[in-house]
Symmetry: D2
Subunit: 442 residues, 4 copies
């Protein structure tokens, strides 16, 4: 494994130094080499860096352009710049101990004047990335196609009213899937950033959803053709940039997949900030996906719950993450998925070391949450409380209800003749919240 | 038909007097007898009065008890009071020209000390109501069981962790279904007011959803047994009273129904205020239900979009209603459903005539929206705009996409060799919004 | 007056054609020449075009770059382009019958490599604009300085922790005030787009507010020096781009102004979308400003109440505008203020005629609301209802309360000995809402 | 001091057992006797129990009546019941180690048929409470009058359009102030639960605010007459029960107080849940009050940021509380204020021990936050970071700006001739968030 050290000469590999280290550029909780249950923490956590935010984010917002200037952003032509940027990125991946990365096609390679030229650029960059992956051991968690930035997609990609745009999007996803395969990507993601509407006044909602389903079926077909064995993931988001997006939340995604016979092929990539924008907790979305056997991967970030847009912040709220991690671990983990830091620096965080601080915080918070959640599950207090709470369904007429032996008639008879009035039982929420606080600050 | 005139002696039958009448106690737009396309407006609109708000609402809120005192609320025992109240209600239904009403079991009849006693009360009241229905011609749009007020349901009814409560709820719904049949109800509604959770810390989300599905299957089975031919309806609501309800919105409902094989038996009762609490427009929820062939009925009200709870106000926003009505009419109408005023008087609206004002406003607003929407659809400007917008899918490779003949490969080839770059086309939202304003204020 | 006709050759002056005209490019309600109460509608409405949206808006959003390409956007250098753009703008102002325009310094003239160069550019453009104003009769409603886009302002302008940035901002506002005077601007606006914080962890809130107050005092001083007689206006906004802005809403602005002795010098520029982002209705913010004698001007747009960011849409909701207009007219109008369309085209509205449609809709909606509000006030039904409602304070002990003659003691005695228990009176909200509906759709 | 032990025979005095105790009915962080800086933790924290939630809360919500049944709730007449309830409460206060309590007049004593009778009831209960205070050493943090529950207040108390209601409210507050004095209350609170409006259609906003101001002036006058030396507090809340409340947030309160010359007499009682309903963080409201020298007391609870109503939950989010505590300690603490648990049990938390769990959690969370905040301030890392960040204002032209020596002209000259372009400096938000995480989970 080659140790890259060109673009961040002042910052070496981030070391684990324990919870009390005074060194801000060290891990306090994420110890990549620590072995837990026969696997290293690096293997457990499956962290991934989001190329778009970490290496294409410039700190722009709707009221101002970029604030961040990186030294490696120069070169004789866009492809050359893209290659050097990739070198810097892999150096960062290595130093921050991230085993994975993720990309959109247009993040890593510049868009050309035609699709053919864009594809050529992409080929060059993918070849370069392949070399860097080999040299560093960093792997691709997932790839995806950017079908939302270019003006051609302003009214959607597969849901665009113009069939020409559907065709263009199909061609672009085809290529992005090929590149994902080429780089050994373990998943492929669909985030329908403009697959929604601005106003129903100009929209045929049903026809658009039909087109979206057709598009996904074509992707499934093409995956078979090229032997892509990775997992397809849908990333729900309720709104922004559009007024309303079809994959509003996990439940909407399930409704869509089942309506169109796609449920076998897709799982969900759940983003914390998208969950809260949809009115759900992060943990809720995980539980809904898990109940459907469709928990795929995590876009690890958070929003500001007093703000109504996707702030994509680094999440250091260990309480929120512990709750999420409990549900993830109970569901058996993420499989081929991972924790991808789809999070961006605040606009004024312009220093190179801010990029490190941000990811260190995110990784530490997740690693700590993982450890606390494991301890909680090992001690089983919450789980046994919940099991007891539902135990009336484990035998007798409760079991008959679950197994389908009871009917309205038999249950009515039971109530009228034997059971009478139920006795309310406390839900003990405050007791449980105190217990959680104790695990978090014990 | 008997004309009732005991409880509102100062207010006669509300007459249609046209848009400029200075009489506040007249209809300005709802002319029940007006014939449109071979049906009266009364038949078109299928208005319904919600018994719980109109006759059990007292103006309480979380910070104060009831403010409304009705003269008919007295009698020697609860059942007697309930009968007189029902007399007053039918007089109101008649005077306000509402062809339908809706109830929860516990609205119309008092809860007894046991289920058996409650059932007896209910039987007496149902008999009384049957007489009033016959005398006045007012019909039952739907019945439902209140499975959320009594403390026994504080942790849910069919999703309660205690099987005893599931059994009790089953018995109660069985009876409510029987009463609905007895009164010729055209639909039966399930609103899962406590079918959700307060905290995931004490909840088995999957097991609760399994129980909810089992419950609905039992209802379907029982409907067959008793020959109930009406439509089952689910009324989604995202939250309140619980932190999170399983039937969050129409899409969640579809996901749930399809996951558990219930989609054939249920449609949706869409409430305006529940739509906006879930982050959707009223029209959006209608469109989602319509796309699934599951548009059932409407709970006609509105919320205050700056407030985060279910305000259940009477809706006089003709713009919002016109948009909704366009989507309803395009979907072929509500079938066995109707427009049920699930709306309550503001706490300070304590006069008897406020009850009339409120419903007059709601009916007029809906009737006007209906007329404007019909005019919009008759002139076809929006529809032809939308049809044109998607016309590239009507022939050529667009049609191939819809019919499944295109593949990622064929589309890529098309783009690379023929189509090139798509030309963005304006969505013309502002033009369309102006057109709508013209219909509303032309 | 010169009639410009170069950049929109296919679109002539927009004519008033009445409510039923089938010509989308006509006014339905705004008839500039119509005389109402001795003043033309053009004089009454004091419409203004926001240069930044109308002529610098390109349809970008956080997930994609601009979609809008204008033919006049070319030239040998930025200043030349800026001049041609200004020509196009004034042609638009003239054709759309807008008597006013508004700008930020950096909208109209390109930023140079130094402040000195920026000032030179600005001088050239202001001279050009002065000629265009003279030629067309279009006047400047207000000017302002953009203190939020450039990365130097990323942590605030006058509230920046770096005194250097405060100084820079001071210099920039000085110049913008001079330019406003040069162009006869009737007001000068302060919108503190970054005068707030991203996190309290790095913020001295008190010191920042002290600096903001100092800055405004310096502006007041400088206005005296240069003889600027126009009105200073603060435009509140709760958040976005920052997490929290100091001028959160009108009430926060009043608290700030009074705390720092600035209340004599400032009124408020109220933006509809900012009102709703702050949790208030548009009408509420107008009423709060009016109660403080500080109603200055209006940024005319609207948001989408289901979206949590500043969508700055053109407002065609005549109901919302009528309510606002009632409060504005009751407060005696806007004085030197006007209705400035701080509204932008939706991203897919890329046609030149969309710019016309959007403003036509906004103007028509406001003009119609103005007319309805005048009719409402002329008939006085709402006003006399409200006057009656409070009439107990017009005489007797009610008047004693208002005039300060009553005390807790005297009032207690009154209640204990004479008054007893008050009788609740209905607020009659539904009746009033019906009345409003009748005015809107009569 | 008498040890009460009648109503909670199974639960003794809650003991401090340290962070790892397995006993749920022990304090993990709040050690009342622990001496910190010469004062016990009990003296530092000044905890208070809110009588209304703890002893009058029954678990009702808008969709169902109470679920909580307490054994002490019986007796021959309402006043007798009220006395026993008070006995139970003081036993609870003592066992939970709370040095203070708070009440509304109507919580502690039943409302009679007339004001005179209500006052008599109140006198009896106040006498009883005085005895209990003496016996247990528990003191009154603040009293207040309930001016929102009774239907007479449905349109406001001091802002009611009916002068009769103003008079009634004056009489009621007069009595509540007298009772507060009698019980040695250290503060008196005004929460304007209905001092707002449901609709502007029927409201004279200015006149209502004038009346509210008059009312507060009368209270100030009466306090002088009766020698009440405690602090008057306004408790802001943006909405609920009304659509809009005049004391929307702290800034609105400051605007109001300064507009009416009341700022000398009032500070703020800040409630966490009201802060977030108004769109602010808890810490923000504290900082705004502190900047105005008006930080009075805290209503300690939290909301659910995904729910739009006042959930009044017990707060165990140590992160949120630590941030708040940093700002409180920096402001010099709460003076005569305290931390009052204005928090209620979740509806299904019906057991008596839930009341203990809930308050133990709230107390522990605050005590832990207090300790962490003290450590943070002692180490000074955040404070010195912030001081450095603004240090350019400590000398040179920065100091000239603060001291009023600089002008727009002098600053422009400085920029043009010396300073040139400022260099942006990182705000280092992620670094600071990591540091906070380390303090919370170190
Ligand atoms: Co994401
Ligand atoms: Co995001
Ligand atoms: Co409903
Ligand atoms: Co509702
Ligand atoms: Co604006
Ligand atoms: Co705006
Ligand atoms: Co409170
Ligand atoms: Co509260």
């Amino acid at each position: 494994m080659k140790s890259l050290n060109t673009h961040f000469p002042k910052i070496g590999k981030i070391a684990y130094e324990g919870p009390r280290s005074a060194n801000a550029l060290s891990f306090k909780h994420y110890n990549p080499a620590e072995v837990v249950d026969g696997k290293t923490m690096k293997e457990h956590m499956r962290f991934s860096i989001a190329y778009w935010h970490a290496f294409r984010g410039v700190g722009s917002d709707p009221f101002g352009p970029g604030t961040i200037v990186r030294p490696w952003e120069s070169g004789k032509d866009p492809v050359s710049v893209a290659k050097v940027r990739l070198d810097a990125a892999f150096e960062f991946f290595q130093k921050i101990e991230s085993p994975f990365w993720c990309w959109h096609d247009r993040d890593i390679a510049p868009e050309g004047k035609s699709l053919a030229e864009s594809n050529k650029h992409l080929d060059k960059i993918v070849a370069h990335a392949k070399g860097l992956q080999k040299a560093t051991g960093v792997k691709l968690l997932w790839g995806t196609a950017n079908l939302f930035s270019n003006p051609r997609f302003m009214c959607g990609a597969s849901t665009n009213p113009d069939a020409h745009v559907f065709a263009y999007a199909a061609a672009q996803v085809k290529k992005a899937m090929e590149c994902t395969v080429e780089l050994g990507g373990e998943n492929y993601v669909f985030w329908g950033g403009r697959e929604g509407y601005e106003t129903l006044l100009n929209t045929n909602l049903k026809r658009e959803q039909d087109h979206l389903a057709r598009f996904l079926h074509l992707a499934v077909d093409y995956a078979k053709q090229i032997g892509f064995k990775g997992q397809f993931l849908i990333e729900p988001k309720p709104k922004e940039p559009t007024k309303h997006q079809y994959d509003f939340d996990v439940a909407s995604g399930i409704a869509f997949l089942r309506t169109y016979g796609l449920e076998k092929y897709f799982k969900f990539n759940i983003e914390t900030n998208h969950a809260t924008l949809a009115g759900h907790t992060f943990q809720h979305e995980i539980e809904v996906a898990a109940a459907a056997g469709a928990l795929g991967s995590i876009d690890a970030n958070c929003g500001d719950q007093l703000l109504g847009w996707d702030t994509d912040q680094f999440n250091t709220d260990v309480r929120e993450l512990t709750l999420a991690m409990i549900s993830i671990l109970k569901a058996g983990g993420l499989g081929s998925g991972g924790f991808n830091f789809d999070a961006k620096l605040r606009r004024p965080s312009i220093d190179v070391d801010d990029l490190f601080h941000a990811h260190i915080g995110g990784m530490d918070a997740y690693a700590l949450a993982f450890k606390i959640a494991r301890r909680i599950l090992a001690e089983g207090k919450f789980e046994s409380f919940v099991a007891d709470r539902y135990s009336s369904f484990d035998s007798g007429y409760g079991k008959d209800i679950e197994t389908g032996k009871a009917t309205f008639k038999s249950l009515e008879k039971l109530v009228l003749t034997k059971l009478g009035e139920p006795t309310p039982k406390s839900g003990k929420q405050e007791y449980l919240e105190n217990l959680l606080m104790q695990y978090l600050h014990g």
